[in-house]
Symmetry: C2
Subunit: 149 residues, 2 copies
Amino acid sequence: MERNTRQRSAIRDAIAQADRPLLPQEVLDAAQREVPGLGIATVYRNLKLLVEEGALQAVNLPGENTRFELMGHQHHHHFQCRQCQRVFDVHACPGDLSRLAPKGFTVEDHDLTLYGRCSDCVPARPGRAHAASAEQDRSAMRAHKQKHR
Amino acid sequence: MERNTRQRSAIRDAIAQADRPLLPQEVLDAAQREVPGLGIATVYRNLKLLVEEGALQAVNLPGENTRFELMGHQHHHHFQCRQCQRVFDVHACPGDLSRLAPKGFTVEDHDLTLYGRCSDCVPARPGRAHAASAEQDRSAMRAHKQKHR
DNA sequence: GTAGCTGCAAATTCTTTGCAGTTGT
DNA sequence: ACAACTGCAAAGAATTTGCAGCTAC
């Protein structure tokens, strides 16, 4: 039977209150505000558990680590901002794409990722970057991007 | 100045002779037939080098490790078979998708991945899987999938 | 001759797992 | 009580890097 621990609630809340898919490290940062001693292993264990029980959904973008969001919206896609690296939901879909596949191939599903600038990072001025949430997230991403350098 | 080593040629050839994007480990396996002592670090170093010089193209699919293919076809997409896990090029594109983005967002590009069955793994009979190349690749993928278990 | 390259081993990053102690029910 | 859970540290997998020796040019 599954228990209701402070840690699990904090993790679920962190994701529920975010308006976009979060990285495990971002979940940890957010959840630690409520449970300071929280460890990253517990975050990973709970993310896996919550996905299995259908509460969360894993979001995989090309070349990115897995993010997590609330299960809910069925089929949808994602948009990644090339400036702040954040990922947003896109509740639209191009529809049936089976016509694109090679002959003899059967298409069952598809993944689509759009790239560009989010509304906080307008393309006009590259040096802008003021919106609080965007700036906050950029630092998280900077830390994240240090991998393999 | 860049040199022309046996190792680099073997790596480039391995990718040139494949009909689909290869994982670094698959490149190593193929290139070692020509240069037995070849190490994985050399493969990674050359893949990065060849991408930078424009000879190769990195192929990132959601939740998959980076694969590599010859640069050539500009904008194209990919198809992954859910049975044999192999990835194939799709030389078609749904076209402009900016209409799908939220208001205030600017779309500059997109990535599309189709999922289903390739012509070697017909959906009719799940227990089939005979084609030699498919079987060969499946074992490579099995080894690959051992990660994090 | 020497700068670029290679193989090996060690380091890094992300994720998972073993274990001993803690806690929800 | 006791099984589920947690934090920590160690293990694993993919990728990168330091280094001493090799090799193309």
